[in-house]
């Protein structure tokens, strides 16, 4: 199935780019929505076909989780555009999605891994999907923060909305993980590297939310905080596979062999 990836990915990416360009040029909404939704449908079709071929949810390897990220990013961008009408947000979502598509093409870890018994659980799909959707929202928030810092703008309320929503899903993903861990291993939280970094990420976004509520808090500091939080998120997602402190310490590492 991975052999066909580039075909679906290119079609989806082209459709998303049309949608993002249309939103930037303030074109008619039907063009923005239909193009983006069509792109999302194509990509979702690929994921579903892969799910059928594997006989298990495509969430086991890094490459597979990147698929979901590339799917949720333009979706997050579209939702934000629908609510806030920012001209550049769909472009960001598409850009980030394409980045992860390219990673899957140029640095794949594609050998299919059989699903180990610990992952055969109804918690598996919800836990991963909720997290990947949150990561997409936080990705768009981080890009928005970079844009606002770069253009020296002062209105971070768009970021706030994204982060509240992203944090909601991040929290749900984390708690699903805890409930699943209790059923699988008997402990809801073991402070293994993945969980530790999930906590670091969660707390950092909490700092952002609480800091933003202080009157006259600095837009610049908030923006930087958001970017730092997103870096922690990336470490949690895949960085721990390379972190010396995390070697051989976690059940969560996606095997890179």
């Amino acid at each position: 199935m991975w052999n066909y990836f580039i075909l679906y990915a290119v079609i989806a990416a082209v459709l998303w780019t049309i949608g993002a360009t249309a939103s930037y040029k303030k074109a008619k909404p039907w063009l923005v929505y239909s193009s983006t939704v069509l792109g999302l449908t194509v990509f979702l079709l690929y994921i579903i076909l892969m799910w059928k071929e594997l006989g298990r949810p495509p969430m086991r390897t890094m490459g597979e989780t990147r698929l979901w990220y590339s799917f949720f990013l333009p979706l997050a961008g579209l939702i934000t555009y629908l609510r806030k009408k920012y001209r550049w947000v769909m472009g960001f979502g598409t850009l980030l999605a394409v980045v992860f598509i390219c990673i899957n093409i140029f640095k794949p870890e594609i050998h299919s891994k059989s699903l180990m018994p610990a992952l055969q659980s109804p918690w598996f799909a919800p836990h991963v999907i909720v997290y990947m959707f949150s990561y997409a929202l936080m990705g768009v928030a981080a890009l928005t923060a970079i844009y606002i810092l770069w253009k020296k703008k002062t209105d971070l309320s768009g970021c706030d909305d994204l982060v509240y929503l992203g944090l909601a899903f991040l929290t749900i993903g984390m708690l699903f993980g805890a409930l699943w861990a209790k059923e699988a291993w008997g402990t809801y939280w073991a402070w293994d590297p993945k969980e530790t970094w999930a906590a670091i990420t969660w707390f950092t976004y909490l700092v952002y939310i609480h800091y933003r509520r202080i009157p006259n808090s600095s837009v610049q500091k908030s923006g930087i905080l958001l970017i730092v939080a997103f870096i922690f998120l990336q470490v949690c997602w895949w960085g721990i596979n390379y972190l010396p402190a995390a070697q051989n310490m976690s059940m969560h590492t996606y095997n890179l062999d």
């Binding site: 291993w185 402990t187 700092v207 609480h210």
Partner: protein, 400 residues
């Protein structure tokens, strides 16, 4: 500094003071001994903690310091400290031995735990401000803040009462002894008899490996051929499975080993395969096997560098049919599977492992037994936070 109203400097000073105090405690008293707060100490501590919070809340109008406890800037600072300290934990290997002062075992370090306790104090005080007087619109706020408070408090205080044991069982031999994480043998008020251990494995995978490095080909994207596909290709090699035996034993000498069907305990999987290299035109044919605890594995040498191997089969599903006998003469029966533990008499029994050496021939089943009396409080906190999170994305606003 220390002029009212307090600002970031004062709050940072307080948290820094906690960290320094923690370091000093670490040096003088040593790491935290969590067993000290086992029941009933944890209940007493909880009562005192809640009483203290209630007292500070009631007296908040009289004392500025108590009012500070629910100040927004204080919240930002304590969350930052907690995030930063957890970051230290994330960057240092928690192996328990490498570094002094608790850096390698931060969960027992005063200088990590005191700021977390402080977080809980601020959390509780903040939650109290919107609990009394009670308004319906505060429900999302209360769910999020009390939820975390209850989960953190329950988890920390309850941690000392958690019992985690490992038990190895063999068919027909009821077992009531188990081993703690520290290696001590302990007796349980119940006995577990393994009736039968069952395991399903994924079909064997054929791979081409480099004889020196052991890495599978092709380098960046290792491929394999599943034995049930009967044929496939890896890199330049076409591979065909001529015959597959699920239960086999080797016959013959080195250089001319072949496998025959053999159904007894310890039988291995074996396949007669043929390979064809599309580039060089080489043909090879021979038996390969992943081996078992009785028989060594068998590879097919393709050339000086490469061999075709059958990898050990991966477990798909394993479970144990058990009978549990309790002291009050009751008998419970169930099948324990990964992700499906069996709860009995305050203990939850998890399928942990089996004899990996014997693989599909394993008769032994390893269970993990967990007793966690404070888990209801942690569940309560978790479900409150879940509800609070749902409000977050329904309301999406600063009211939460």
């Amino acid at each position: 500094m220390w002029n009212k109203p307090f600002g970031y400097s004062e709050y940072i000073a307080i948290d820094a003071g906690l960290v320094i105090t923690g370091l000093l405690l670490q040096i003088t008293v040593g790491p935290i001994d969590w067993s000290l707060i086992a029941f009933p100490a944890n209940i007493i501590l909880l009562a005192c903690f809640l009483a203290a919070l209630a007292t500070m809340f009631v007296l908040r109008r009289k004392f500025y310091f108590f009012r500070c406890l629910f100040n927004g800037k204080n919240a930002v600072v304590v969350l930052s400290f907690v995030a930063a300290l957890t970051l230290v934990m994330g960057l240092i290997k928690q192996d328990g031995i490498s570094l002094p002062l608790g850096f390698s075992k931060m969960l027992g370090a005063w200088w990590l735990v005191l700021p977390y306790v402080w977080l809980t104090v601020i959390l509780g005080m903040t939650a109290l401000t919107r609990t009394v007087p009670f308004h319906l619109r505060n429900i999302p706020f209360l769910l999020n803040h009390w939820g975390l408070f209850i989960a953190l408090t329950g988890a920390t205080l309850g941690n000392a009462d958690v019992k985690e044991l490992t038990m190895q069982t063999f068919p027909g031999k009821p077992e009531w002894r188990a081993v703690t994480n520290e290696g001590e043998v302990t007796e349980l008020p119940l006995a577990i008899e393994l009736k039968k251990f069952s395991i399903e494995e994924y079909p064997a995978k054929l791979m081409i490996i480099d004889n020196n490095t052991g890495n599978a080909l092709p380098g960046k994207k290792p491929q394999f051929v599943s034995i049930d596909e009967k044929q496939g290709s890896i890199a330049d090699w076409n591979i065909r499975v001529i015959q597959y035996l699920d239960y086999a034993a080797p016959m013959g000498l080195e250089g001319s080993v072949k496998f025959i069907g053999w159904g007894s305990d310890g039988a291995t999987e074996a396949a007669l395969v043929s390979t064809f290299n599309r580039k060089t035109g080489e043909h090879h044919k021979g038996w390969i096997s992943c081996g078992s605890y009785l028989f060594p594995f068998q590879v097919l040498k393709l050339n000086k560098k490469l061999s075709l191997v059958m990898a050990e089969r991966e477990p798909k599903k394993y479970s144990s049919a058990v009978k549990v006998y309790t002291k009050d003469m009751k008998i419970y029966e169930d099948t324990i599977q990964v992700n499906k533990p069996f709860a009995v008499k305050g203990w939850k029994i998890y399928q942990l492992d089996y004899d990996r050496e014997k693989g599909r021939w394993s008769e032994m089943s390893t269970f993990k037994l967990v007793s966690d009396p404070w888990i209801p409080s942690v569940y309560a906190g978790i479900f409150m936070m879940l509800a609070g999170a749902i409000f977050l994305f329904v309301r999406k606003g600063p009211q939460t």
